[in-house]
Each structure stands twice: as C-alpha cells, then as structure tokens.
Amino acid sequence: MDLSVEESTDVNAATGGFSVHLDNFDGPFDLLLQLISRHKMDITEISLSLVTDEFIAFIRSLEASGEGWRLDQATEFLVVAATLLDLKAARLLPSGEIEDEEDLALLEARDILFARLLQYRAFKEIAATFNERITLADKYFPRVVALDPTLSALLPEVLIGVGPQRFAAIAERVLTPKVAPHVSVEHLHRPLVSVAEESRLVVEALRRSKSMSFRNLVSDAENTMVIVARFLALLDLYRQGVLRFDQVMALGELQISWTGSETGEVEVTDEFDIPVFLENDEANEGSVNE
C-alpha cells in the first residue's frame, strides 16, 4: 500500500502544520516506528504527544482517503491510537506524583505498548540481516557435478528403499499443492441482503396485488435472510403508513394490504443496511494486503 498523506492540523500551529509522507507501511507498529525514527527521537514521553498527533492525523487521512481501510488493520490502529491518546492526555495534565490506580494503569499501558514496539523493531532489524544473508548466499554457487562415468560404474545397485505403494504416497504428498490450512469462513459471509432493495420489491408486489399474504410475499425468497429483510421492509413501510396488517388469529396467516399511493417514490430506509462488523479475527481471513 502506498500512501502519501498531506495533513494540516491546528495542533501544531506554531510550525504551520506538518505533512506525513509514508511508503509501504505495514500495520500500526510499522507506522509508529516510522514516525518515531523520522523524528530521531527516543521513545520518551516528550516525543509522545507529537507522535500521537501525527498518528491520529494519519488515521484521519486514511478515513478521508475514500479507499477505506480494512477491519483488521483498523482495529489494530485504533488500539494503538487509543493507547497513545491516553498517554497524551496524561502528559497534558499537571504532572505530579502517581496518585491513583488510573495513573498506574496508564504507565502500564505505555510500558506494554513500548515493549511490543521494541519487540517489533527487533524483528524488523533481524529481517534486514536475513535479507543481507540471503543476498550473500545467492552469490555462492555450489559445485554440482555428475559423477564421472568411470566412478558411477562402481556404484552399487541403487536402493529405492520403498515399495510402489509408499512411492505413490510420496508422489501424492509432493504433488499436493502446499497450501496452509484454511478455516472456511464462508458461513460467516452470507451474501448481504439489502433491506432497501427488498423493500422496493415488496412495494412493487403489493401495488400489483393490493393485498397479499406474507407467505405469498416471501414464496420466492432464496433464504432466510431474504425473508427477514422483507419482514423488516414491511415494518418500515407500516411505520410510514402505506400498508395495513391483518391477522385473524395469533400465528395465523398474516395478510398485508397496500394503502399507499399507486405510483411514485416510496421512501426507503437504509437503517438496516448499515454494515455491522464482527470483531472476530477469523471473519477477516484473507482480507489482508501483504
């Protein structure tokens, strides 16, 4: 992901705002490290508020960028941002002795964040040495030569060492694509059903028939989600006063009659279609940008 962000804030009014230029950042730790190292600062409380401002500005700009951001990244960013914000708030308050539990918790949160950051930085630096090693290792070419015919004639009979069945099992294992195991999450990703869309279908059907049973109205529904969506649409339309429910007895047939206009736009709600995200790691599988 390449992002170049220009952000002006009044937080740093004295210097007339600042801009953030970051390339190829990879998660919140990565970003924090970049911010800290760009200011050539120790990870100290003094630098915290400046770094916090930049971090938050970065998150705002991500939001504003229109391309949105991924849930798993977003939650990580938010956790880090919230911790930073807490720490910044503590900086703004008059300094004094640690008085209560909350101050202690704040200090602990800072230590934990820094510890994780230090750990990440350690592996990032190691990764650089790995890269150097691989680059160097690629420059050594091994001597790989066939045995001289006079010598290969001396070789004892080769021992394959396994029978045909075992041999086939090896082939099967080698030929099977090496794909990391993957927990299917398709059941968590039911195709989204839009209440607004179903609402339009319901209005259309009712205008045509004037009166329908709920059973008929959902007879062509592919799954339960559609049935639920149409029911929600009915409730919303009822609230707008364009239809009437009749149910002779409890749990009996639900009859719906259209009382609204013959033509024209019916206001369609979108309150049911606002995405709700599950805070579940598995639900975001495969949606990472690496």
């Binding site: 990879d26 998660g27 790995f130 691989i134 690629d138 091994p142 045995l147 975001n284 690496e290």
Partner: protein, 183 residues
Amino acid sequence: MSNVEIERSIEAILMVVDEPVSELTLAQVLEKTVEEVEMALARLETSYEDRGFCLRKVNGGWRFYSSPEFSSAVEKFVLDGQQSRLTQAALETLSVIAYRQPVSRARVSAIRGVNVEAVMKTLVTRGLVEESGLEHETGAILYKTTSYFLERLGLNSLEDLPALAPYLPDLDGLDEILDSLTD
C-alpha cells in the same frame, strides 16, 4: 595417513560429490576421527582464502562453492536458481518464525501487529516454513523453518542465527510480559 594426505583426500572426494558431505561420513571413509577431519577442513578452508572458490558448511554438510566476489562471472553460466526476492513482510514474518519456532500463526500476527495469513502461505509454498504439530492448549497449528531455509540463508544450523539479544533490549521479564500479551 599424514595431515596433508587427509586434506588431499578430502579435496579429491569433495570434487566429485553432488551433495554436501558431513564430517562423519568423511571420517568413516578415511578411517580418521571426526576431530582430525574437522581440523583438516578448517585448514583447507583457510588455504582457499585467495582463490575463486571456497569450502562451506551449509545445513550440516561441506561442499565447494564459487566465491561470491566472482558471482557475476558465474552467473553467465548458471542461469538456473535465480530466486525471486522475498517481500519485507515475508522477511519479517520469517524472522519471527525463525526465532520463536515452533510458533502459531496467531502469535506471529500479534508480534507483527498485522494479519499474516497470506504471508505464511507464501512462506510455506516457497518451502521456507513448514507445519510442526499442534499447540497443546489451543490446538493451533505450529510452524517452524525448514532445512531449505538454512540453505537459503547459508546457515549450517539454527544455532548460527545471529543472536536476538542486541536487537531486543534485555528488559527484565520483557519476554514473559510479551508472552502473556501475545498468547
């Protein structure tokens, strides 16, 4: 058999092998002790210092390699084996696995602060990382590096990995705190 004869015999053998040979195998063939063979190998290693080739121990075995300074000349002959480069994300993930193995994907993810699923797949597909049983408590799949990983890094064994200590400040109990956090 004199020291020089041991050295010359080792040279003669390594000139015909197509895969790395361990000190033990050489010792058995030459009817010498492993120590004698090790010393001979060390002397040979030094004697090639100004040559266009060298002797290296990678992944537990010895063989001849061309010297890296002359790789550009060699590359004109050896078109094969040009490996595609690993991304920064793959390198970072690989280094976490190398130092924390066996390790679950969730833990690697926690240390890097991002979802590592796609990167882990790439590393497994490239043969650098493989499964290594299940974590006792959680049942999560554990991963470790392969012997091909050692070859690619030109390492003899995992013990030759650079120490993590200089990179990771030795704060008292840091590892324990981190463990409890990332579990």
